[in-house]
């Protein structure tokens, strides 16, 4: 077993048995499980909340058939009937949140009812639309009766033209929430693990344990062993999320939930998605980890570490925002470009796969570019690392560093 494997084994073991690793894994699993169940819990809670609503009806179109009204809205409203004189008092009750709203119906021309719904919370338009629809139905029914049409004529008048919607590919509403969450997990994992590589290198240097290490193994073996060791630890964490998530899902089968118009559809996650998640995590991690390692090897004091790691974190953050932007138009040219550029591609391409049908050649191209970039940046990082690990004192200026790297061969 050569130096590389020894470093890898030790790094993997000490990382996966460390307290922070275990705690972080458990916290994330709790978050994932919580997110699976939370929407249905919220839905259940709000479904039982019937709102108090007042009816002031001068026309009788609704108040003549109170039972019908109450049945129609049995799940959402508690009806109270009031008169016009109570309006001021009732409006006061809307302001102090003791009632949801007032449906005031007055008669207009030719008996055409004019309704006004007074409320503080117009955003709940699902219910408001239902009220409007119900009023319309009652009015149409009243008109039909007045016209004294035959049953056949009534049916013809009330028939609606057929209108079906067929969704090709994936719907935005269906996938947005899920993609957002998975994209966040991917982004945060790459950021966390990438920067931990820099942290590890910086620690070994400021601690001087680096002196023991580089007099025992070759620097390249050290770099590879640490990077891959940490990567495997990250992968282990990922797999435990997936297993825990799938396990909970199989056991408890939480319902799909809705948040406004958006649905959180867990069944959208199939095996292929998980495979892509793992692939892009690994590729993204190795891409950033090698750069982080190169940067981290230049500092010798722990205080200097943020100076070199912040630019990289900024780059990752920018890629995150770019991906957020492209989520609404995943087939646009910006989305396609950034799903190939190696800095942003792990996150952007993965998100595109979730929200749309990506042609296979694009996926393969993205993966190929990432692998090639890892090779190039990895080679460069190794050159810097070889020189950087022995540099103590103040951080070298860029031109000094370039000279040192050139002269090292």
């Amino acid at each position: 077993m050569n130096g590389f494997m020894k470093v890898l084994k030790y790094t993997y073991k000490s990382q996966t048995t460390s307290k922070s690793f275990i705690i972080t894994t458990l916290i994330f699993i709790l978050i994932i499980v919580g997110m699976m169940f939370l929407p249905s819990v919220i839905e259940n809670l709000s479904a039982n909340d019937k709102q108090d609503i007042c009816l002031v009806d001068e026309t009788g179109i609704l108040s003549d058939n109170l039972d019908g009204l109450k049945n129609e809205f049995a799940e959402s409203f508690n009806w109270n009937v009031a008169s016009k004189d109570d309006m001021d008092r009732l409006i006061g009750r809307i302001h102090d949140d003791s009632i949801y709203g007032i449906l005031a119906v007055t008669g207009g021309k030719d008996g055409l009812p004019e309704a006004e719904f007074i409320t503080k919370r117009v955003t709940d338009d699902k219910h408001i639309k239902a009220l409007h629809d119900y009023l319309q139905v009652r009015w149409s029914s009243a008109v039909l009766n007045k016209l004294q049409l035959s049953d056949e004529q009534k049916n013809l008048l009330t028939s609606r033209a057929g209108f079906k919607v067929e969704q090709l590919g994936k719907s935005f509403e269906d996938t947005y929430l899920l993609s957002y969450i998975l994209m966040m997990i991917l982004f945060m994992s790459i950021l966390m693990y990438g920067s931990s590589v820099a942290g590890g290198v910086g620690y070994e240097k400021s601690n001087r344990v680096m002196e023991i290490l580089i007099t025992s193994v070759k620097p390249t073996q050290l770099l590879l062993g640490k990077t891959i060791g940490l990567g495997l630890a990250g992968l282990t964490q990922f797999f435990s999320y997936i297993i825990a998530g799938c396990g909970f899902y199989m056991l408890f089968k939480p319902k799909n939930a809705t948040l406004g118009d958006l649905t959180f559809n867990i069944s959208n996650i199939n095996g292929l998605i998980l495979v892509y998640l793992v692939i892009f995590f690994l590729l993204g991690y190795f891409f950033y980890a090698t750069i982080y390692a190169g940067f981290g090897s230049i500092v010798s004091k722990n205080e200097d570490l943020p100076v070199v790691t912040m630019p990289l974190a900024m780059v990752l953050l920018i890629c995150f925002f770019i991906t957020m932007y492209t989520m609404t138009s995943p087939d646009g040219s910006i989305a396609v470009i950034f799903s190939i550029v190696p800095f942003s591609s792990p996150i952007t391409m993965f998100t595109r796969i979730l929200t749309t049908d990506v042609p296979l050649y694009q996926i393969l191209l993205s993966i190929f570019v990432l692998i090639a970039s890892i090779g190039i940046f990895g080679w460069l990082a190794a050159r810097i690392y070889k020189v950087g690990v022995l540099l103590y004192g103040n951080m070298p200026k860029l031109k000094d560093l370039v000279l040192l790297v050139k002269n090292d061969q």
Binding site: R208, V209, E211, I212, T215
Partner: protein, 296 residues
């Protein structure tokens, strides 16, 4: 053949830190690298290890160029270099396997050395829970547990209490008897005098004296003379130009150039019929030589 260091030099930002340093150390010998703080000892040791790139010079072990990843060399850095938050046994075994020991051998070596230094009970503890002295012991074990042929110690006694110092002295002696080549830097002059045959004294990167300790003492141009007489001989001493550092009730502590000067005084006193109660001529101590040569 042993360790041969030839012409090592290093400058940082135009400052010469080590200048043309050469020495050799054979198997079974302890070589003392002496000098004040900042004189270049640590830089020298780091250059031998390959941690700092030397500007010029060669380092050879048994005739071959010494490689940085040479497995049979042990190094004790001046500052602590171990994983603070990890267990003692795990990282010791790790470092040992990196230096070529098998997992099994590493484990038994760790147990042997922990016992030797009286810290067996810390086998499963995290290093951060140990005191500074015990951490130093761990660091020492890291440098020798893989049974290296060469050992470089940078101030090995720092942080050790007298009991632990004795343990370390025994360990170093044991290594010496087992034929290891040991190079150490230290301020403990009495230790160096006792165990080192060869020394090198550095001052601002330059070699002031180097070679066999006995020869250095012999070449030193002053010997210590303690003489106690029955009467006051101040006048005689002054006439002979002998420097007296202390005079108390007819006991004089003086510095003479060599044996002849001391003999000359003795003959004079005998001729003058002065009774001589004590006459002691000793070699200079390393401590004295150090202070005079390395001081400003």
């Amino acid at each position: 053949m042993g360790l041969v260091v030839n012409g090592l030099s290093k400058s940082f930002n135009g400052n010469v830190v080590v200048k043309n340093l050469s020495f050799s150390c054979e198997e079974g010998k302890v070589f003392g690298l002496l000098g004040r703080n900042g004189s270049g000892k640590t830089t020298t040791l780091r250059m031998i290890m390959g941690i700092i790139k030397r500007d010029s010079g060669e380092v050879a072990w048994n005739g071959e160029k010494l490689s940085r990843q040479f497995e049979r060399i042990g190094y004790l850095p001046e500052e602590r270099g171990i994983y603070i938050k990890e267990k003692v046994s795990e990282q010791l075994i790790y470092f040992a396997t990196l230096k070529g020991l098998s997992q099994k051998k590493a484990k038994s070596a760790v147990q042997y050395w922990l016992k030797k230094f009286n810290i067996e009970e810390y086998y499963d503890r995290k290093v951060e829970t140990l005191s500074k002295g015990n951490q130093q012991k761990i660091q020492l074990i890291v440098s020798i547990l893989h049974d290296p042929e060469i050992v470089l110690f940078d101030e090995p006694f720092s942080g050790l209490d007298p009991v632990n110092m004795e343990i370390l002295k025994e360990v170093i002696n044991e290594l010496k008897v087992n034929g290891k080549c040991i190079v150490l830097s230290s301020h403990l002059m009495d230790f160096v005098e006792k165990y080192c045959e060869d020394v090198l004294l550095l001052k601002n990167g330059e070699t002031i004296v180097s070679g066999k300790l006995s020869k250095i003492k012999g070449d030193y141009n002053r010997k210590n003379l303690i003489i106690r007489t029955g009467e006051d001989i101040r006048a005689v001493l002054d006439k002979k130009g002998i420097f007296v550092s202390e005079a108390l009730e007819n006991q004089y502590t003086a510095k003479v150039k060599d044996e002849q000067e001391a003999q000359g005084l003795l003959q004079q006193l005998v001729a003058d019929d002065v009774s001589i109660l004590r006459y002691e001529l000793t070699e200079p101590t390393l401590h004295e030589i150090f202070i005079e040569k390395a001081g400003d």
